[in-house]
C-alpha cells in the first residue's frame, strides 16, 4: 500500500511548484498510471516515493510507514524501480545487472543465479543466450526487459515505473506492454506507472491519475474519467483521443 497525502514539492526555494497537494493511495496489486504532459509533476511524484527527491510538504507512507522514518537504502531496495532511460550498468552483463540488488542485499551466489535465470525467463529472455551479454549488445527492448527484471530481482512489494517504454519504437512498446500485463497477472505487484501516452494508460491502468501543472486533476478508472470528467482538462484529453481514434476509423 502506497499512500500520498497532501504531497507538495517546490524547487528554487518555493519559486516554482512541481507538485501541489497530491493525495492518493494505491495498493493490493493495483496498477495506478499517472498521466500527464512533460513537466506536470508526475515523475517528481514518483521519485518522492522512494526518496530520490525529498518532498517539501505532505506525507508518503509505504505499507503504513512514513518513508522519511525508514532507512533510505532499505526503502529503495524494497521498491522496484524501472527508469525511463533504462540505466543499465554498461560494465555489467545482463545477468549481473539483474542480480545487482540481491548482491547489495548479500544474497548467496547460487540463490542470485537461480533468481536471475528465473527472471530473465519471465521477461522473455534466454538466460543462456542473453545473460552473458553486455547492455551494449542488446536491443533497446531487450535492455528494458533487463531493466524490469532488475527491478523485480529482490521480489519487492511495489514497482515504480517511470515512462519505461517511452524511448522504444511502437512495435516493441506494444510487445512490452503486453508482457507487462501478463507479468502483473503472475506477480500481483502494486505498480505506479508514469506515462504521457493516454492509450498506454488505458491499456495498463486499473486507475488513472491525470496530472496537470503539478496538481492531480482527477483519479479514477478509464471509464470514470471518460464518462464523468471532473475538469475541462480531463474532458479535453479524452476528446482529443477520441478524435484521433476516429481518424484511424476513417482510414479503415
Amino acid at each position: 500500500m502506497i499512500l500520498l497525502s497532501e504531497l507538495s514539492k517546490s524547487f528554487d526555494g518555493g519559486a516554482t511548484c512541481a507538485v501541489r497537494d497530491v493525495s492518493l493511495d494505491v495498493g493490493g496489486g493495483e496498477t495506478l498510471v499517472l498521466l500527464g504532459a512533460s513537466g506536470c509533476g508526475k515523475t517528481t511524484t514518483l521519485k518522492m516515493i522512494n526518496r530520490l527527491i525529498e518532498p517539501s510538504a505532505g506525507r508518503i507512507e509505504v505499507d503504513g510507514v512514513e518513508v522519511r522514518e525508514r532507512d533510505v537504502l532499505d526503502l529503495r531496495r524494497s521498491i522496484g524501480y524501472v527508469f525511463q532511460d533504462i540505466g543499465l550498468f554498461p560494465h555489467l552483463t545482463a545477468r549481473e545487472n539483474v542480480e545487482i540488488v540481491p548482491r547489495l542485499l548479500g544474497w548467496p551466489v547460487e540463490k542470485r543465479r537461480e533468481r536471475s535465470a528465473e527472471l530473465l525467463q519471465l521477461v522473455g529472455l534466454d538466460a543462456e543466450e542473453h545473460g552473458g551479454r553486455l547492455p551494449l549488445h542488446l536491443s533497446g527492448g531487450q535492455q528494458q526487459r533487463i531493466g524490469i527484471a532488475r527491478a523485480l530481482a529482490a521480489d519487492p512489494g511495489h514497482l515504480l515505473m517511470d515512462e519505461p517504454f517511452g524511448a522504444l519504437d511502437a512495435v516493441t512498446r506494444d510487445q512490452l506492454q503486453r508482457q507487462l500485463i501478463d507479468l502483473r497477472a503472475a506477480l500481483r505487484k502494486t505498480i505506479v506507472f508514469v506515462t504521457h501516452d493516454l492509450f498506454e494508460a488505458i491499456r495498463l491502468a486499473d486507475r488513472i491519475g491525470v496530472m496537470n501543472g503539478g496538481r492531480l486533476e482527477q483519479i479514477g478508472t478509464a471509464s470514470d474519467l471518460m464518462e464523468r470528467p471532473a475538469t475541462p482538462f480531463v474532458a479535453e484529453l479524452f476528446d482529443h483521443a477520441r478524435r484521433q481514434a476516429a481518424l484511424i476509423g476513417e482510414v479503415r
Partner: protein
Amino acid sequence: MCRWILALVVLLGGSPAPARQVETIRIGAKNFTEQEILGELVAQLIERGSEWRVVRRFGLGGTDLCQAALLAGEIDLYVEYTGTGLLNILKRDVIANPDLAYRTVARNYRLRFDLEWLPPIGFNNTYAIAVRAEDAAQRGWRRLSDLAADAAGLHGGFTSEFMERPDGLPGLRVAYGLAIGRTTDLDPGLMYEALNRGQVDLICAFATDGRLAEYNLAVLEDDRGFFPPYDAAPVVRSAVLARLPRLREVLATLAGTIDDESMRRMNHAVDVLKRSPAEVAREWIEDRLGERPAREEAQERDAGDARGVFALAIERRGEVARKVGEHLVLTALGASMAVLIGVPLGILIHRRDAARGAVLAFTEIVQTIPSLAMLAFLFALYGLLGTAPAVTALVLYALLPVVLNTFTGLREVPRQVIEAADGLGFSSRQRLWMVELPLAAPVIIAGIRAATVLTVGIATLSTYIGAGGLGDFIARGLARNDSRLTLLGAVPAACMAVLLSLLIRFIERRVRRG
C-alpha cells in the same frame, strides 16, 4: 599494498643498521668533473688508508645543496673552494689575498657551522674569462680590460651560477665596466663547445678546466685582480674528525700536492680523453705513492676508451643494470604513491565542489615549479638526500594527470547510470566501488599511464640530490660533454617509458573489454 610500499620506502630511504659496526664516511661532490675527480681522490685515499666504509654521494646539484647536506649530516665531507665558501655560504665580500681568504673561511666555518677546512690541495680554480684564440689574436685581446670597448657587440655564455654570483658577472661588470651585449645561461658542460662553435664569444671558464687546451681557447688575464682566490680544500664535519682523528692523517697526502696544471691534466683526461674519474684519481694516487705503471699502458687504455656507446654499455652493463633498477624503483614508488594519493583526491573533488578549485590549482601550480628548484626545496625540507625527497617530487609532479583523469572519468559516468544506482538503493560507497570507479577506470588508467611516463622522465633529475637512477649517467655525460654517457642514461630511460606505457595500455585494454 600500502604496507608493501611502506616497506620499500623504509628499505630504500632509511639506513638500516649494518651487520657489523664499520665506520662509514659519506663523501659528497658537486655535479662537475673536477668535483668528481676530487671526490674520488678523497674516497680512494680513505679506502687505501683505513678500514672505513666509503659511500660516494656525487653529482649533487650545487654549492647550497652540498652545504645543506653537510649540515644535515647527509654527507661527511666534500671539497670546496675558498672563494665559494666566502661569497656563497658566508656571504662575505671578496678577499683578494689567498691566505687571508682561507683563514677567514676556516675560522667562520668552524664557529658558525662546526665544519673544518683541511689544508688546501694546492690549485686555485678561479673563474677565468675565455675566448677563442683566433678572436683574441685578431682583435688584440690579452687582458680583461681590453674587452671593455668591444663588449656591447659580444655574446657571453655563462653558467647560471656565474650570472648571479657577486664574484661573477655582476661584479665583473662593475670592476671592468664590462657591458656585455647579450648573455645566455649555459650548462657548464656545454659552454666550451658553444664557444668553440662560435655560438657565444666568451665564457666563464674555470682556470683548471681541461678543455681550455683542447679547444684552442685563450684565457684573458685578470689584470685588475677581480676574481677572488678559489683554493680547493676538503671541508669536513668536525664531529667526524673528532670521532675519526686519523682521517686528518689519511687526507694529508692531498695537502699542497695538486697544482693548477696537474688538476687541468686530470680534468682533461676525463673531459676530453673520456676516462673515468675513478681511474684518473687512482693513477694520481699510484703516481704519488710511487706505484705508477708505465705511461704507455695508460695511453693505450685512453685510446681504447674512446669507443662507441654500445661498447661502453656492454663494458658497464653491471652499472647500467643497477641504475635501471634504481630508476625503476624511483618510478614505481613515485607513480604508485601518486595513484594512492591522486585517485582519492580525484574522488574527493568529484564529490565536493568546494574542494575542487583548491586541489586542481595546487596540482597545476606544482607542475609549473622547475624540477631542480623543487628538488632543492624538498631536500631543504627533509634535510636528507636521496630517495625520500626525490620520490616526493615525483609524486607531486605525477599528481595532476592522476587527479584530473580520476575527476574527468567520474564526471563522464552517464547520469542515468548514477540515477539507476541511487534508485536501486546503492550506498554512496557501493555506488563508487561498483559503478563509478569501474566505469571511470579506462580514463583513470590513461591518467596513470601519463603519470608513469612523466615520472620516468622526471626521475632522471633525481641524480641532483643523490637519489641515483639513470639520471646519474645523463648528468655525468652533460657535465663532461660526453654524449656516450648521456645516451647510456637517456636510451634506457626512453625504453623504460615506452615499455611501461605499453604495459599500462595493455592493462587499460583488458579493463575496457570488461
